[in-house]
């Protein structure tokens, strides 16, 4: 992870607090903010240097394309067509002619400059309020050239934060299960990629079935289920070193793992003799604690962000429902009471909501409810979808969706999708193969 670190060198100008533009993210945004993302300007010598290193003709415009795509996909912004831009990138970055940008209806403008500095990539960018004719923020970064995509994501995070008042989620990664082959003999591999689908990398070879990977709070470790040697067990993987170790080697099946919010424990299900219970394991001293004690199925545990509570899935009422208990297993309370059955509860990073999967009358839904079960809201309905995972700022959910097969068993696919907490902006997340079981990382830089 070290090579991903970006040094934030200078803050050119302290943030001002009188920006006029604000984006409200709490409602479905039907009027995305028109924003102009000017290509980052670059001098000819820097351009050539980066062309040699990165094989990109103009790294300045490549970075701006990343920012533009992120803003568009967020659903809150409407990046304007570059063909309409009147001012050249280098001049715009010095002092935009606001009338020109106003003319094409831009309300905000991003400009910047890229240069090659002692084998490093130096990027500065500015955010402008076009209507007020003011600079809203200016930042500069220096990093290794290979990090150019991340620079685009970090710029987006800064702009998003400045305009919405909330942290962004663009400099993040997704771990998921890449799938190929016929439905009856699916080959599954762990895969990791940037939030926008770039830099996809397979982490296992597909020799054994792997399921349900989840990041630890620092996003350097992943816990998942592997059928290595046909023994379904919870494993731990260090993404940087590739080291794998079994953590749930009990005489039975361990599955449904997640990290505790402090990253010190793994919470998981352990199935033996037809009964699944929830356990925790301390990763340092390997002490195991049994949390639930009930003859029904207890699985899919997920901690509240403060670590004080656990939501989980149980069929102790006869059908799958969502329950909440204290982290020591006391005070078990059922919270889902709507029509249908409920699974995969996941506590939001803000702590106020639980996302879930619901099956009702043959349809699957992704929804959210408050942690006491009130305020249930269904965001999306489909033939099959499950396993929501929260963006680190708690505004977006990623999940997977499967299509129906026809009578000949054809037409099956599994894809990753994302949707805003508002229920708007549903989008397929691009993956090179089919995908399932996505888990969203924390923000890699802050």
């Amino acid at each position: 992870m070290k090579n991903f670190l970006i040094t934030l060198i200078i803050i050119l100008i302290p943030l001002k607090s009188f920006g006029l533009i604000e984006v409200d993210i709490t409602r479905g945004n039907l009027n995305p903010l028109p924003i102009a993302v000017s290509p980052l300007s670059i001098d000819e010598e820097s351009r050539k240097n980066f062309e040699n290193i990165l094989e990109k003709k103009n790294i300045g415009s490549e970075i701006s394309k990343i920012v533009e795509n992120n803003l568009k996909v967020s659903g809150l912004f409407n990046p304007l067509n570059k063909d309409a831009f009147l001012q050249k990138p280098d001049i715009a970055n010095l002092k935009p002619r606001f009338e020109d940008w106003n003319l094409i209806k831009a309300q905000a403008l991003i400009t910047g400059k890229v240069s090659y500095l002692e084998e490093k990539l130096r990027v500065e960018f500015r955010l402008w309020d076009v209507l007020a004719g003011k600079e809203m923020m200016a930042l500069a970064f220096t990093t290794v050239p290979n990090n150019w995509r991340r620079v685009g994501h970090i710029i987006t995070d800064k702009v998003y934060e400045r305009l919405t008042g909330e942290k962004g989620y663009f400099d993040t990664r997704i771990i998921y299960v890449a799938e190929e082959g016929p439905k009856t003999q699916r080959v599954k591999k762990l895969a990791i990629m940037d939030q926008d689908g770039a830099n996809n990398k397979f982490l296992t070879l597909g020799n054994e079935l792997v399921l349900t990977p989840r990041f630890n709070p620092t996003s350097q470790m992943v816990t998942y289920l592997s059928y290595f040697r046909n023994l379904p067990r919870v494993y731990l993987l260090d993404i940087e070193t590739g080291t794998q170790e079994v953590v749930g080697d009990f005489p039975g099946m361990t599955f449904a793992p997640r990290f505790s919010p402090d990253g010190k424990k793994i919470i998981m299900s352990f199935a033996k003799d037809g009964n699944s219970e929830i356990y925790t394991m301390d990763l340092e001293n390997r002490i195991v604690e049994k949390i639930t004690n009930h003859p029904s199925i207890d699985t899919s545990p997920s901690y509240s962000p403060d670590g004080k509570f656990i939501s989980f899935n149980s069929d102790r009422s006869g059908y799958q429902q969502i329950y909440v208990m204290k982290s020591d297993g006391n005070n078990v309370k059922r919270i889902s009471f709507g029509k249908g059955i409920y699974g995969t509860p996941v506590w939001s990073p803000r702590g106020d909501l639980i996302a879930f999967t619901k099956l009702h009358k043959g349809k699957f839904y992704i929804g959210v409810m408050r942690t006491d079960g009130s305020g249930e809201r269904l965001l999306t309905e489909n033939f099959y979808q499950e396993a929501p995972s929260w963006s680190p700022n708690g505004r977006v959910l990623i999940f997977y969706r499967e299509t129906k097969t026809d009578s000949k068993g054809k037409g099956f696919s599994a894809k990753l999708w994302s949707i805003d907490l508002t229920g708007y902006n549903e989008r397929q997340v691009p993956t090179p193969t089919d995908g399932s079981d996505p888990s969203w990382s924390s923000l890699l830089s802050n």
Binding site: P182, K183, T184, Q185, R186, L209, L211, T212, L225, N230, P232, G252, M253, F255, A256, S269, A271, D273, G274, N275, S276, I297, T299, S300, N313, D315, Y319, Q320, G343, T344, T357, L359, F383, Y384, E386, A387, E402, K404, T405, D406, S407, G409, F412, S436, D437
Partner: protein, 159 residues
């Protein structure tokens, strides 16, 4: 005007035909299902002559049906005769449930079969249990009949 009326009626007839044919196919499927438990033999393999390798379950259930118990008694008799054979009971679920819950459900189904074999004298030392949840369907269809074939516990020779 008249033409459109004729077209409309024609459309209704087509819809009616579709509905009828849908009924016809679903009737055919009930021939292989009792309630929603699979009773056919399409996917069944045999451990020995007359000894089916699998039992089927109702949606969300791990209760053994009368037919399942009969199959397991045959398996138990065969295992008693072949005392060196060890087995894996592979528990499965259909695709209409969340992945983690289905892993638990598959384990519960395989254990239901294991418990029954044990009551007929098969030592637990000879039986291991492996749940695949919904990961290894035998029928890739997305329809009630396919799902009924996939809700199963399969007895597999381990040696």
């Amino acid at each position: 005007m008249k033409l459109s009326k004729i077209l409309k009626n024609g459309f209704l007839i087509v819809v009616a035909c579709l509905a009828l044919s849908a009924c016809a196919t679903s009737k055919k499927t009930t021939g292989q299902m009792q309630g929603d438990v699979y009773t056919g033999t399409d996917t069944v393999e045999y451990l020995a002559s007359g000894v089916p390798d699998r039992v089927f379950f109702a949606t969300n259930e791990s209760v053994l049906t009368t037919a399942s118990r009969e199959t397991l008694r045959k398996q138990a008799a065969w295992l008693r005769k072949n005392s060196k054979i060890t087995i894996v009971l592979e528990g499965h679920a259909d695709e209409r449930g969340t992945r983690e819950y289905n892993l638990a459900l598959g384990e519960r189904r395989a254990n239901a079969a294991k418990d029954y074999l044990m009551t007929y004298g098969i030592s637990s030392d000879r039986i291991s249990v492996l749940s695949y949840g919904k990961e290894r369907p035998v029928d890739s269809g997305s329809n009630p009949l396919a799902w009924s074939k996939n809700r199963r516990s399969v007895t597999v020779k381990a040696n």
